[in-house]
Symmetry: C2
């Protein structure tokens, strides 16, 4: 789900926003990484750090923990609890990845074999549980009940979204409002909790906390829609991942949901065969792409992502202007850049 690849520069040679965040937050990130390594250890069960390291050190961009660090620091926070919260957020994220890969029977993540493939489903389930409980210990250490409340609610939204995705998959009745709930669970809930707790720990006013929450929510939604659009190749020839994975897994993402809603009865019969019945044959992905194109479904989903990115930027309007808030602003454009 991490959209950022290796360090990127634009045509003027400037670094991309995630890399600028890495530079701006370098010291904090180092402390977060140290804390993560420390807390993923287990005296008695060496399997735990083995599995965790595989995933945590696999070169993810630490986008979520950076959101927490950036939110706290842009408000002038001088303490150290934001580091604990950033590690918390990364542990929750890693725990959900471990369980997701079991549920999706994934074999590859970030270009490497998945933990479930290497150590089996059992280890992935139990190490995920362990990381979730470790995240819980970390956030308790901050002593902030408000933070605990936010992260408990985010955890429930994540789990509920995952179950909803499981039951909504292959069901053509899935509409945009269900889709939104699924992607809030899948991505936006943790983005928004990440930014919100950064504000809370910095002692920000209610307005500022709400703005940070809205920013994370909108950024996460834009991020996930882009991911779902790219799964059908995007609007141009940008190659981000294998085209058609969601189609083969019969997932009802925004492009398909839009196309189904405006499909002819013949097209509907096609969707019923390939999505609901799962009877997919050679040429079906091409046919699906043609229907998506005919109904402007990719453009529709792209526009939706752009609108959410804009909402993310608007949310930042009333926050202090500094390098960190400017970079968060540019991050919103960056996440939709691949489909813009």
């Amino acid at each position: 789900m991490d959209g950022a690849g290796k360090e990127k520069t634009d045509q003027t040679g400037a670094k991309a926003p995630p890399d600028r965040l890495i530079d701006l937050l370098a010291d904090d990130l180092q402390t977060v990484n140290r804390l993560i390594r420390e807390r993923m250890a287990s005296e008695h069960a060496p399997r735990i750090p083995e599995v965790t390291a595989h995933l945590v050190e696999a070169g993810g961009k630490r986008l979520r923990p950076m959101l927490t660090l950036a939110a706290a620091r842009m408000l002038g926070y001088q303490g150290q609890d934001h580091v604990k919260l950033a590690a918390t957020v990364e542990f929750i994220h890693t725990a959900t990845l471990l369980h997701d890969d079991v549920v999706d029977e994934s074999q590859l993540r970030r270009g490497r074999k998945t933990a479930n493939l290497l150590w089996g489903n059992k280890s992935s389930i139990l190490v995920g549980d362990y990381l979730f409980s470790r995240s819980f210990q970390l956030m308790v250490e901050t002593g902030s009940l408000r933070v605990l409340d936010i992260l408990a609610n985010a955890s429930a939204t994540i789990a509920e979204g995952e179950v909803l995705q499981l039951t909504a998959a292959q069901d053509l009745r899935t509409d945009e409002s269900i889709y939104l709930k699924v992607i809030r669970g899948k991505t936006a809930a943790l983005f928004s909790a990440a930014t919100e707790v950064g504000g809370v720990i910095a002692g920000a006013s209610e307005d500022v906390v709400a703005a940070l929450r809205d920013y994370g929510d909108a950024l996460g939604i834009a991020f996930q829609i882009v991911d779902d659009v790219l799964d059908y190749g995007g609007t141009s020839a940008v190659i981000g991942k294998n085209t058609g994975d969601d189609f083969r897994e019969r997932k009802l993402t925004l492009p398909i949901i839009h196309a189904v809603a405006s499909s002819s009865s013949e097209e509907r019969a096609f969707w019923e065969r390939v999505i609901e019945k799962g009877d997919q044959r050679d040429g079906d992905l091409d046919r699906a792409m043609a229907i998506l194109a005919a109904h402007g479904s990719i453009v529709y989903a792209r526009d939706s992502a752009l609108a959410w990115a804009k909402r993310a930027k608007v949310a930042l309007n009333n926050l202090p202007a500094n390098k960190l808030s400017e970079t968060l602003l540019e991050l919103a454009d960056f996440v939709v850049e691949r489909v813009a």
Copy 2:
């Protein structure tokens, strides 16, 4: 893992301790059950209450939530937060059962088909995650950071114990100290957190809180050793479960650990074949039982359970004497009664 079956009476017609606890805590238990039903609901994902109800309403004795209620009430607690904590404990327990059954590939629990068999592993994993996050929301509502700390630590111990069990299984080097860590994770950590948070929420002194924690810990350990002894038929003809399940799953429980430590080289070759290599043939269970008998391993494990039950009772010494504390005292004898 629930040791208590249907309502039982002893030879004098008196009810067994778990049933007496049900009577003594009837009103509270009703409130707990209402809260559990309320909180397992999900507006958007009906699969969640479906899976949860299957397990939560399957006739478990609610032993763990009763420990929380009993601990709080025996200290004169008059508030309502103990109800939230009791529901929390039951949710954590249910979440671990869902994940355990996936990991152990179980097909039956409490005489009914398991959730993983009925709805698939994916639902069990995700609904388990959901219940865990719901438990977390419930405990946050009590507003007690101390309670959150205890339950976060218990969750980590549970998950670590599960991973340890996974990696220690089939490994003849597993010794009694590793076994103790595994069963603390598997059973005693939640028992002891259940009693401890009952004391904390009641505002008890440090001495009393420590006594409640020790009671829960010792009770849980006794409980689990008894379970493991009964898996080899116990010391008499008591039939509690299918004999030999642990043997077939190549689990290193206390009877085997004791026997392995005193085995001849020929016996050791046998354990290597059946446990480490998993090459089990007709008659192997009988041979295992004969070796256990020859080394007094069942009696050794039984005596260990009895000693832990005694420790549980000693821990209660300095607590107020009333019907609830008396019943907890008798509960310690009750859990080892089947092997005594």
